[in-house]
Amino acid sequence: MDRYSVFVPKLLPETELFSPENRSCPGCGQAAAIRIIGKAVEDHRRYPYGISNVEMHTSAFPYKQWELTQAKKPGGTSLKLDAKKIFAMAGESGSFDDGIRMLTEAKKQGKSFIYICLFNEAGIERHREVPLNGYHPDGTKSFIRRLHDMKNLIDRAKAISPDFMATACPSHPFDLVDKVKKTLDCRGISFLAVFVPCPTGCSYDPAQSLNSGRLAVETGFFPLYQIEHGSFRITVSAQSVPRVSEYMKLQPSFVMLSPDEVKKVQDAVDKNTTQ
């Protein structure tokens, strides 16, 4: 029996909304995430055309990587209106600037709003709006200091209490597809935080890109869960939880950390996961 026809098209269509000729680095987790989100959305008229960090490697001026043949790009905004549903996609810095404000405003006005935030673990830009796993390759010592005064975007989004909220990672593609489809079905505001591994920013082997995302999920750095109308559920749980040191071993930037500091990170992760 042809396994392909049974297995994949039931979950993923063969259409590619994100064109393969993109300018991303080899092993880009963001490109993988955008491609899978595009497959989940299916209809290109509902796909966002974001001006954000996504734009950097997808739409430098004379080129394009979006298969948006009929849709028009709205000028000066990262939103696309279709069927009374607003669909936005941005990175973590842009989410702190505008995204949270847009979410509260949409909640106030009672609009149907989908917000997808792509978390880059590296933070190539130097900013502090990062969750637990945020650090900078050349400032690893400051990672420990930043553990204490971090601004967690996911907690802030949780405080708005969206109708559907979830975290996802392209290392678990079918989980990501399910969650994107749930956001499309949701009538209120929905927030989806997608963790995207970055081999260039963290300077590891591109082949380990999605494995790094998988380890981040299994160790508890970035647990995958969903909150649907207030009910919390963990969607992906590891059979045996690896230590955080395994995740850090993969990335040369963490070599500087002493065992005591790794233990501090492990304690922070344990505290986060038990909450």
Binding site: D2, Y4, S24, C25, A32, P62, P170, A207, S209, L210
Partner: protein, 92 residues
């Protein structure tokens, strides 16, 4: 001098028609390319799902192959294959 309207002028010598833009083609070729072993391949399509560049496509016989114009040689298909059917070899 012929007066042209805004829509008739080319933008930055690239965009000759409004609404049309160029696809990006990289001139750099990767050093490594994936090769499938058909004896080990179970046609589960995991390589197809995980490829960030959508370079892997399904052939008529159900097995998978790569388009080297799109592949960047990252090796994710080699890492993620459960059956060890994908190996990275030096590209020609």
């Amino acid at each position: 001098m012929v007066n042209k309207t805004f829509k008739q002028k080319s933008i930055a010598c690239h965009l000759l028609e409004t609404g049309k833009v160029l696809p990006f083609k990289s001139e750099e070729k990767p050093e490594l390319m994936p090769v499938w072993d058909k004896d080990l391949c179970a046609r589960c399509a995991l390589c197809y799902v995980y490829c960030p560049d959508a370079a892997i496509s399904r052939q008529e016989d159900g097995y998978f192959d790569v388009d080297m114009n799109l592949c960047k040689g990252c090796g994710i298909c080699h890492r993620e294959c459960w059956f060890g059917a994908v190996t990275m070899q030096e590209a020609d």
